[in-house]
Amino acid sequence: MSLTVNGESVSADVEPRTLLVHFIRENLDLTGTHVGCETSYCGACTVLVDGKSVKSCTMLAVQAAGATVTTIEGLAEGDEMHALQEGFWERHGLQCGYCTPGMIMSAAGLLAENPSPTEDDIRHGIEGNLCRCTGYHNIVKAIDYAASKLRGETPAPAEWEVNA
């Protein structure tokens, strides 16, 4: 099978039971995409397939034949972080970082669908991604930051800037 991952075309023979996430992690050595459960609940494995966020643990690699896949490693343009990566950094949207790549790729799908999400849209938009560290507070702010940047607007100031 052949597919495009982060702009490069790759071909491989895989067992049908190889999940897309394992193909990405083990065959391509792109270990930024994580595995946190086996029931499609945690979302740590989220990647973009043809521009939409999907859980790569609930997709067979063979189902992705011919598709265009973007992982966390392929999100930035060169050395310039994507607005979401910058947003998570600027707004402390991560602690242990394990859910973060999936969270960011999920948010990327959300913002592609809805460039101006409300807080409620963001909270419901990332329902498929579990985080045990942040209580989601700063993840919501991080996605809002990125949404503003992607719209060409100045992000709302951080809470600590307002409170300072």
Binding site: E15, R17, R25, D29, L30, T31, G32, T33, H34, V35, G36, C37, E38, T39, Y41, C42, A44, T71, I72, E73, L75, A76, M81, Q85, F88, W89, E90, H92, L94, Q95, C96, G97, Y98, C99, T100, P101, I104, E119, I122, R123, H124, I126, E127, G128, N129, L130, C131, R132, C133, T134, G135, Y136, H137, N138, I139, V140, A158, E159, W160, A164
Partner: protein, 792 residues
């Protein structure tokens, strides 16, 4: 964003660029040449005799290198345990299984898939036996969990801690006398504090590789206590500590679940040594549910005896605490941490009796808060119930019973412990004075006027953390049982290199707490070295001095203080060098912005690069001074630290369905000084969310046979972003005097203060229906049932 290094300033996290770009290394990312993969065969029964294990088919399968059972590993002994009270765990089940998920056999194969396929083909015959699941049943000793133990009750913890029999008897008499008074009310509730699955999003993972020529074991493990893991592996396999190179790279959340030495952390290195190949094991989520430790699991009756004017005369808690089948790292010591905060911030006579019982369920151990959320839950729920009973505002009742400020320093809690610093009234008053608090009450009243059920909940809390004082080794606060006889000291190593850059090397690694950033701030503050010249590394036993680990909200208060002191030693030496080079008095040297300056002489300064270079060219140093620029400090605080705070929230309850919605959440926390407010607030956010998870959703539900019914995320509903509110955080600052930074620790505060805040709010909402208590989790079915029961 500010990039200044001052303590107390927000600094964007230095760990994040790797983590947001997917380049951070977690254990499951580790690949070694020829690496094999392990899978475990686990018991489907809570209690059974193993009558046979047939691994012939598995051994013949493609790629399978070995199938190990108890026969192969019995000679290694049982799993090392720091607090060896109760039954030790065999590395692989030996004749019987004592909980669902217990490892019975280990398969090693060339690929993960082959290992799993072969594990499926190991046929184990079990003779199922009755299981002890219910805590009261366990405490009754009707049936023993372990033949070799005298009782299912492993230990009973009481307060006042350390009191002699006479004092204990006196307390019992005092409480009885209070109950006999005509002017007192006695309010009592039996409450459940359910079992929980810690559920770090990163499953536990371990990779081991043995080099026979170097006689060195290299081990990667997703652990909060990598030095202890190194020690335990060495102890069991007979490898000296300095030949075990253990690494905890990025750890994807811990919450206590990775504060343990697990059988796989011993067996994987053992198999790597046997087979001469690297071996990896990564648990899956369903395995994690039954084989990684669980948390909480108390049932208890809390009782307050007090006057109608809000003076509490006595508080009692009689609880049974579920330890599960085997004792692991701390196990029975977890309820003991509850004893520390048994009387909270209050001054009333307190009697706790906590029976720690063994059951045929998975072992319990530290889960965020570890003993303290349980103790504070009972205390603050019953304070709320007592306030309702006497018709007083619970804030006023709390205020009336706090340990007064004049008892500090030197305050002793009724539970029997010396408290560092406290200012409880100011903290609670800060909450009461917040506009947010009044707004929540007004909104509650508005919702009620529309006929809706709404409530405001309030809880104060006290924590003990920052372990700890060296003297506590006698109580088991050390890793001696793992062959690392160190107290719970802080440890920090600061090395300035010849080019003026600095390495800060700590053994205590984070699982999300931002050590790289916080430690950079600490060392930069002390030395004046700019943050971008400081590199913090952690979690590697080859390069770092022995350290204890990240748990119990201890890292900043203990290891941070050690780094601060090590950096102080470096600064002192650098001041001597600078004074020598600038021909100034050492006392006049000030460090700032990457250079040493002479007070009062603005033109006289010398950069850290020059100082560092000089330090490595000893002929340029003052006579008699050693070359180099490096210091290590061990820090042993004089006491643990005792943070505290107040939380409040507003909820609405759907009277038709029992569904609870959190509308607002407000905190006033006091964790002493704050190094990085952004990181501290983040810790509280996550802690509160975990308390909300316990209060509303999470429940490790076992059936009567000891089968875990919620062994996956489908039926173990952790909160999602849509389930939790934004958090409005405030603080008061009461520095501790037990470390030079004044910081108390904040990792667990959010969890300790939150669950009962939410339950208090729901009870406030349901009070008009006659409901006095609802057990967690407050799933809609329970809330609805409570309303039905109250009305009938």
């Amino acid at each position: 964003m500010s990039t200044t290094s001052a303590l107390g300033g927000v600094v964007r996290r230095r760990e994040d660029p790797a983590l947001v770009t997917g380049t951070g290394l977690y254990v499951d990312d580790v690949k070694r040449t020829g690496m094999l993969h392990a899978a475990f065969v686990r018991s489907p029964y809570a209690h059974a005799r193993i009558t046979s294990i047939d691994a012939d088919e598995a051994r013949s399968m493609d790629g399978v290198k070995a199938v190990y059972t108890a026969d192969d590993v019995r000679h290694l002994g049982s799993l090392p345990v720091q607090v060896p009270v109760g039954q030790a765990r065999p590395l692989l089940a030996d004749g019987t299984v004592k909980h669902m998920g217990e490892a019975v056999a280990m398969v090693v194969a060339a690929t993960r898939t082959q290992a799993q396929d072969a594990a499926d083909a190991v046929f184990v015959d079990y003779d199922a036996l009755e299981a002890v699941v219910d805590l009261k049943d366990a405490a009754s000793d009707r049936m023993k969990v372990h033949d070799g133990l005298d009782s299912n009750i492993l230990v009973t913890w009481t307060t006042p801690f350390g009191a002699d029999d006479e004092t204990q008897a006196g307390l019992v008499d005092q409480i009885a006398a209070a109950k006999d008074r005509d002017d007192t009310v006695v309010v009592s509730l039996e409450m459940n504090n359910q079992r929980l699955l810690p559920t770090a999003i990163e499953p536990r993972s371990v990779v081991a590789e043995w080099n026979s020529g170097y006689e060195e074991m290299t081990l990667w493990s997703s652990s909060q206590m990598i030095s202890a893991v190194a020690g335990a592996v060495g102890k069991v396999l007979g490898i000296p500590y300095n030949h075990v190179h253990a690494i905890a790279p990025e750890v994807g959340g811990g919450f206590g679940a990775k504060l343990n030495v697990y059988p796989d952390e011993i067996l994987v290195p053992w198999a790597a040594k046997q087979l001469g190949k690297a071996v990896k094991y990564t648990e899956n989520r369903r395995e994690a549910a039954v084989s990684t430790i669980q948390g909480r699991g108390w049932i208890g009756t809390a009782t307050i005896t007090g006057t109608r004017e809000g003076e509490v005369l006595a508080y009692e808690l009689d609880a049974i605490c579920d330890m599960g089948a085997y004792s692991q790292n701390f196990t029975v010591a977890i309820p003991f941490l509850g004893v520390f905060v048994g009387s909270g911030q209050y001054k009333f006579p307190t009697r706790l009796k906590l029976d720690c019982v063994t059951t045929h369920l998975q072992t319990t151990d530290a889960y965020r808060g570890a003993g303290r959320p349980e103790a504070i839950y009972y205390l603050e729920r019953i304070m709320d119930a007592y306030s309702r009973e006497i018709g007083m505002d619970s804030a006023a009742v709390r205020m009336k019973n706090f340990i007064p400020n004049e008892e500090f320093p030197g305050a002793m809690s009724p539970a029997g412990f010396a408290i560092d610093t406290g200012d409880y009234g100011t903290n609670l008053q800060a909450m009461l004075d917040l506009p947010e608090y009044s707004e929540m009450k007004a909104e509650r009243d508005r919702l009620r006027s529309e006929g809706k059920l709404a409530g405001v909940g309030l809880s104060t809390y006290m924590e003990v953390c920052g372990f700890g004082p060296s003297g506590l080794v006698d109580l088991g606060f050390s890793w001696a049982e793992y062959g690392v006889p160190s107290a719970f000291n802080g440890s920090g190593l600061v090395r300035v290199n010849p080019d003026g850059t600095a390495n800060v090397i700590i053994g205590t690694g984070p699982s999300g707490q931002g050590h790289k950033t916080t430690w950079s701030q600490i060392v930069s503050q002390q030395t004046g070295i700019e943050m971008d010249k400081i590199k913090v590394t952690y979690g590697d036993t080859k390069e770092a001095p022995v350290s204890i680990g990240s748990f119990g909200s201890r890292s900043a208060a203990v290891d941070g203080a050690a780094a601060f002191e090590a950096a102080g030693k470096v600064r002192e030496k650098a001041a001597k060098v600078a004074a020598h080079l600038l021909e100034a008095s050492e006392d006049d040297i000030r460090f700032e912005d990457g250079a040493a300056h002479v007070a009062g002489s603005p033109d006289k300064s010398i950069s850290w690069e020059e100082i560092a270079k000089t330090a490595y060219q000893p002929h340029l140093l003052p006579e008699g001074m050693e070359g180099g620029m490096e210091a290590h400090a061990i820090f042993s605080p004089t006491n643990a630290t005792w943070p505290f705070g107040t939380m409040a929230c507003l909820v609405s309850v759907d009277s038709d369905t029992g569904d609870v919605k959190i509308l607002r959440w407000v905190n006033v926390d006091d964790c002493g000084e704050v190094i990085n407010p952004m990181i501290v607030d983040g810790q509280i956010h996550g802690g509160v969310a975990q308390g909300i998870g316990q209060a509303l959703f999470e429940d490790a539900i076992y059936d009567g046979d000891g089968n875990l019914l919620t062994a996956g995320l489908i039926d173990y509903p952790m909160p999602t972003a849509a389930d939790v509110p934004s958090y409005e955080l405030h603080r008061t600052v009461t520095p501790t005097d037990v470390n030079p930074l004044g910081v108390k620790g904040v990792g667990e505060a959010g969890t300790i203060g939150s669950a009962q805040t939410l339950v208090n709010a729901v009870v406030d909402a349901l009070a008009e229906k006659g409901v006095k208590h609802v057990d967690m989790p407050l799933r809609p079915k329970r809330v609805w049932q409570a309303m039905q029961d109250a009305q009938n």
